[in-house]
């Protein structure tokens, strides 16, 4: 692999500016999933793409100092548990997975029962899971080339 970590200075500066926008765009697409195309899965994959951009631009060593892999594990499990907790809360309404929050006026952001909350849980789960796998894969290559 390359001796110096990461890519050239131009790529690093552009990545610093753009990664935050990509992450915010992913969260936006996940939160307004019930009004416009998108949803939790598209938003989660876009968030993972921001993490992939960071790893590619700065090299895996610097990225692992910024986002530790155990954090990704924690957020991944938290997203899955959050989705399950929302499902179990359906018992308040009467049965498993019943949408117990009010539908609200269609077209506003706060509508659709627990659909925005489920989208958030799926965003956290898919984004953290895929980012963690990519971090682990890049670190694996790094340690292998040292052997």
């Amino acid at each position: 692999m390359m001796k110096k970590t990461g890519m050239t200075l131009i790529v690093k500066n552009v990545a610093k500016l753009v990664t935050a926008f990509i992450a915010v765009f992913g969260i936006y697409i996940a939160l307004t999933g019930h009004l416009a195309p998108g949803g939790g899965f598209a938003g989660g994959v876009i968030l993972a793409a921001a993490a992939v951009l960071m790893v590619l631009a700065f090299g895996s060593g610097a990225s692992r100092k910024l986002v530790k892999e155990s954090q990704c594990h924690t957020w991944d499990a938290a997203g899955a548990l959050g989705f399950l907790a929302i499902a179990l809360c359906g018992y308040i309404g009467g049965s498993f997975f019943l949408n117990f929050l009010a539908p609200g006026d269609a077209g506003t952001l706060v509508s659709g029962g627990w659909i925005p909350l489920s989208n958030l849980a799926i965003l956290v789960k898919v984004g953290a899971g895929l980012a963690g796998v990519f971090l682990a894969l890049s670190a694996f290559r790094l340690s292998r080339s040292e052997e």
Binding site: F41, G129, L130, V133, F140
Partner: protein, 117 residues
């Protein structure tokens, strides 16, 4: 025209199957699995399309006009989850291929079968 589209999709499924069965390189096998996944997702979306229909997002019209003009939302919902599951599958296959390369030094399945670490 519709028959030609369906038959081409079946041909794409068969091409992916041929790649999995007949190729010896691990990367080609992964590419074959990807081809089958794309073709099956496309087939599901093709079945649900309505000629002259609109996307299943209600833009303020009444429920009757929306239901009379929209495409089928059920295959789209199922394919949405299938696409992301396909990404998890590709990640798992790539990790397996890297570990096999580290242990045997080659991507050739014939040589891997002979070595039997």
């Amino acid at each position: 025209m519709g028959v030609a589209i369906y038959l081409l999709t079946f041909a794409l499924i068969l091409l992916g199957l041929y790649t999995i069965v007949a190729k010896k390189n691990l990367v080609k096998i992964i590419i074959g699995v990807l081809i089958i996944e794309y073709a099956v997702n496309m087939l599901l979306v093709l079945v649900g399309w309505r000629r002259g229909g609109s996307a299943p997002i209600q833009a303020g019209e009444s429920a009757q006009t929306f239901a009379a003009g929209a495409v089928d939302p059920l295959p789209q919902a199922m394919v949405l989850t299938s696409i992301v599951i396909g990404l998890g599958l590709v990640a798992l296959m790539v990790v397996m291929a890297i570990r096999l390369y580290e242990k045997y030094g080659t991507f050739d399945t014939d040589k891997i079968r002979k070595l039997r670490g």
